[in-house]
Symmetry: C2
Subunit: 670 residues, 2 copies
């Protein structure tokens, strides 16, 4: 009898094929008709007797996009069908039945959603997205070389076929913009983004706590990290994409494919114009650039007037409501992303963020004249590869910041913590104080789990990617009270100098502060030495599970943290910015605040999916920090603090400390 | 003991693999090193002990372009090595040895060239290019679906896997320009173009007779045919691409791949700008748009001054030299295409036609920032799929026409033939007079000959393409002389009406006249009834040989014509323009001229490769018509003839006759 975990794995392995083995026992598979449809790429004509609503709207073999409402509705219908099943066996039987009927990416998304959310499946884990869809991570040319090698081999030769790739592959050094390709094309960053949109879908599921605000904050933090990376390689900070009537300098050619039949992602040439979108094949109404401009105007109207207008014409203030717990930023975020259920007025405020992705994804063939599929901006697992992702989200963030800048700066009371003094902070790595290092490392995945090869030899991916040597934060904190005191420790990192080599004012540096960790600690009276490992960061998750990890089960010594892995969370290996070969100076900003003020009722928190909580929240529980996300950098500075240094000088509970990050331009020594 | 033919086939089958079977016996294959290089896509480090010069310059797996001089020189070196071998066995042994070392398309090109030109291989024929490189004809997605099907199948299932495609696949009907996609993406047209550039390479081989003029004429005739096709579907005639500083409205996304590893051809979005070319990876100096503009100016200077300037600064008149037989149009054509050996001054006149192809082929990634390979305009077997091919060649033709318009109009003596009266002309098809029909038909090829599948089942292509019902020309000619008279019959076709529905003047219609046939006939004194079959056209070739055809050998009843097939020649199935569902009116222009004046010494004509001679000439012999190609439409009209009708009315040896062509929008009934 196969375990629940192995049944789930056999559903997710080989996304293009009928499930095999245990789960298939006794299952009546779809008729040959459906299989024929699949091969011909046609819309299935029947749901094999199963009610899956509009789930077949997205054609097999084509791209699936959460940014397109018709696709979201297809996902919702499939998720609803899965959620209605009673127990794991019924779920996998249904999944096995519909697997060959619905779009492959849609299927994996919906099935994964259900694994996370169905209460009776808490012990089941998801395997890595990279193994399910290698084609979304590895250049098609490399996959095909492996296929050709498999075809030519002696069938009895079972030595693994290795596909090597990374740290980047789609561009050269000719354009400065491509210096950060290794980061944009990192497998972990793209996998995280997919998982985030799995945890926070727009338009269906129970809305998680502070969904709108987290949409803002998680993307803002990714931008802060991207800008740190850019500074490391001598690039200017990301410019927002706000003028949609002039050519976009940077194009993108992903070299990846949508599915197992080499269907290419759409590409975008340098200096392309965004075009009015009119493709009936996607079940979307036309979107003019003018529509997007109007939605932007209306959102800015709301921000500068302080209220939105609902369907009845009534005002909905963009302020925090203490009774309902709803915050102004959530109202704005829900209308902006947009989530049609949660938007105060989706007809009026539109669907700006999502449809921006769509317009950009179809720059190259906005009217379907050329039968091209969408570009990588259409898929949450590939969008972060494209330089335009950051420019688009910089625009999105800029609108949120317009709102944030209308908020009162924090008061001294908000910022200070009487009787607690943060005496010293620093980091320690490989016995070196305040000197961290990054470099290249290698990770292997089993590509054959998601490939359509007919080979007895396993096909593995060997990915070269950025990583860092592990380190610990060391804090010396004095508690002047007589009693123990529970505090929240907030750790941020930002470059000390701007691209011109000058120290930055609070406002210049404000959006560069990347959250590194946030944790609760109880301070005994007197001096405390607090040590926190980099691997326990509140933003990161442990490395992804492979199929093999899940087949063999938890190894002895598996930490609760690893067990809790649900996929969402910033990859541990990109926790640090790259730095420079000569060593780049960063500032560590550490602040302790009163846990009494920060704490949130944690009812519902089973500890599951409680990694990377600062970026991902906690499944079925409230976001565990009452402060606005990004505190204390989410607002304009109080007038008495003109720089981060002023905070540290004037507040006992804040400390600022220089560290260097050195990039070893070779394999990382840990 | 395998036949010569089968040895050649085993070299050409599976272009990506080591040759198998008979030819491989006793051959020492390249070391594992070279094979490893191949898999890694690296430049081979050794020529396996064989002197093949610069042949390895073009990397395996990348696109090979005759328009790039470094690629032509690579081809030349490989051809030279092949030509130095003594006998077929030595040739195939060398070919087997270098096959896995050099670029696949380069290899097939060079080996094919040698098969055509080596005197001792006259009985060997080339198989269809479609079977050698299905990926240059069939969308990658369809090939991969077949691969996936092959992978999933019971290995013992040998039912053929069928890939259906055509008549077009890369676009929709949204843009009017795509109405002629079925024609641009016709397999035969693209195969012809590859064969033409095999017969008429620039820069190496013995220059064929009237090479420069045929470069002009063959391309002009393709444009005439394209414009007829455009009129059939309600499009205006092709606009020349002459302003290279404004966006090009029509893009192209081929859906095809360069090779067996899914490497995509470059694409071009609508409204792209041509860009200055600077890619060191291709061994080409930078090409600015300014360079192309300057070369154009210099060619026009020569045309309007009547002479070119050679390397010594001496004048080379652009006139026909009776002693040397060199014609002005040849001098112009050789400098324009350009052929560096034949150009009077390649430094001054540049390489306009070839490098125009290159600049256009790299519009999407002119500086290699995105590691993209060239677009289909770079490869002679794919270029005609792209709408821009015709706009570029319309510019090329326009420059040639500038020259042609400087020539004296033909005199009455040039045009007339005393004592011969062309009384009546017409066509007969399916017992219907003057009513021809076109429609869709289906042809199968064996794709597995060129695919890297590991499948016991054959993979076949089933191509839907345009075709016509066969027909005969009927001529009634009176010879008023007492003795037999040998005449040349010249048959042209053009639309009777322009896109506004009006009859055309001579000059408006002039470049629309498509040569349909040209043949010699001896008229007995008195009335003659001449019948000529459409299948014997002087521009067409018989259908291509498949591997299977060549394996089984000539069937009983094989005509000399079929036996003569060498690949070059307009495809028989696109001899006629499509016409319209309601019937479109065309004019048949038939002229008889004096064979005494037309004839050319045919020394060297073995009859081999003597199909499609009007477009392809004759291998190792002179072009068999002394008149300027395109006569009598290649020059301005004589003042007394304002239209084609004036010719027919005033000249006894000319006849003009209306016919209709009806397009059956379903399967063709023959």
């Amino acid at each position: 009898m196969a375990s629940d975990q192995s049944k789930v794995l056999s559903i997710l392995e080989k996304p293009y094929e009928k499930p095999k083995g245990d789960v298939a026992t006794g299952i009546e598979f779809p008729s040959d008709l459906a299989v024929t449809d699949r091969i011909a790429g046609r819309q299935p004509t029947s749901g094999a007797g199963v009610e899956i609503g509009k789930a077949t709207f997205v054609r097999r073999g084509t791209a699936f996009s959460l940014f397109i409402e018709s696709h979201r509705l297809a996902a919702k219908d499939l998720i609803d069908a899965f959620m209605r099943t009673d127990g794991l066996q019924a779920l996998v039987e249904l999944a096995a039945r519909v697997k060959v009927l619905v779009n492959e990416s849609l299927f994996v998304y919906a099935f994964s959603y259900v694994i996370l959310h169905k209460k009776d499946l808490q012990n089941v884990r998801l395997p890595s997205l990279i193994e399910m869809f290698p084609n979304k991570f590895v250049p098609q040319e490399d996959i095909m070389k492996a296929q050709v090698e498999a075809n030519r081999r002696d069938p009895d030769d079972t030595t693994p076929i290795i596909i090597e790739y990374g740290p980047e592959f789609s561009s050269t050094n000719i354009k400065p913009e491509h210096r950060v390709s290794y980061w944009r094309e990192d497998y972990g960053i793209n996998s995280h983004h997919w998982h985030w949109h799995l945890a926070y879908p727009a338009g269906f599921g129970d809305p998680p706590d502070r969904k709108g605000e987290l949409f803002f904050y998680m993307h803002q933090q990714m931008l802060a990290r991207y800008d740190m990376e850019r500074l490391s390689v001598g690039l200017t900070r990301t410019e927002k994409l706000e003028n949609w009537r002039i050519p976009v300098p940077d194009g993108y050619f992903s070299k990846l494919t949508v599915n197992n039949t080499s269907r290419a992602w759409g590409t975008r040439q340098d200096n392309s114009m965004l075009m009015d979108f009119k493709r009936q094949d996607l079940g979307l109404d036309p979107i003019d650039i003018t529509d997007i401009e109007i939605w932007r105007s209306r959102l800015l109207d709301a921000i500068h007037q302080g209220y939105m207008i609902d369907r009845n014409g009534d005002k909905v203030p963009l302020s925090d409501d203490v009774t309902s717990g709803k915050r102004g930023i959530d109202i704005l975020g829900d209308a902006f992303e947009a989530d049609r259920r949660l938007s105060v007025n989706s007809l009026y405020y539109g669907d700006l963020h999502n449809l921006g992705h769509v317009v950009i994804a179809f720059t190259h063939d906005s009217d379907n004249a050329h039968k091209e599929d969408m570009g990588v901006m259409g898929d949450s697992s590939t969008a972060m590869r494209d330089p335009i992702f950051y420019r688009w989200h910089k625009f999105v963030d800029d609108v949120f910041q317009e709102y944030k800048l209308t908020q009162q700066p924090y008061s001294l009371e908000d910022l200070s913590l009487p009787n607690v003094v943060l005496d010293r902070v620093g980091v320690l790595s490989k016995d070196q104080a305040d000197a961290l290092s990054t470099g290249w490392t290698v990770r292997e995945f089993e590509a054959f789990r998601g490939l359509d090869f007919n080979s007895r030899a396993p096909v593995n991916l060997r990915i070269t990617h950025i990583d860092h040597a592990p380190f610990d934060y060391h804090l010396q904190v004095t508690n002047r009270l007589e009693a123990p005191k529970q505090v929240t420790v907030r750790i941020f990192l930002a470059p000390k100098f701007n691209v011109r080599g000058l120290e930055m004012s609070f406002m210049e540096q404000r959006l560069l502060w990347a959250e590194m960790d946030k944790f609760t600690v109880t301070l005994k009276p007197g001096t405390n030495h607090v040590v926190q490992s980099s691997s326990d960061s509140s933003i990161t998750t442990s490395e992804e599970y492979t199929f093999r990890d899940l087949e063999t089960g938890p190894q002895p010594g598996t930490s609760r943290r690893e067990f809790n892995f649900c996929g969402c969370g910033w990859p541990q290996h990109v926790l640090l910015p790259r730095g420079t070969p000569g060593g780049m100076v960063f500032q560590l900003f550490v602040m302790v605040t009163d846990f009494e003020k920060d704490k949130v009722d944690q009812q519902g928190n089973t500890g599951r999916c409680a990694n990377g909580v600062s970026f991902c929240g906690i499944l079925d529980a409230k976001y565990p920090d009452s402060r606005p996300m990004g505190f204390p950098f989410d607002r304009r500075n109080p007038p008495q603090f003109q720089s981060a240094a002023d905070f540290a000088e004037q507040l006992d509970n804040v400390n600022l400390h220089d560290i260097t990050i050195t990039f070893q331009a070779s394999s990382l020594t840990k």
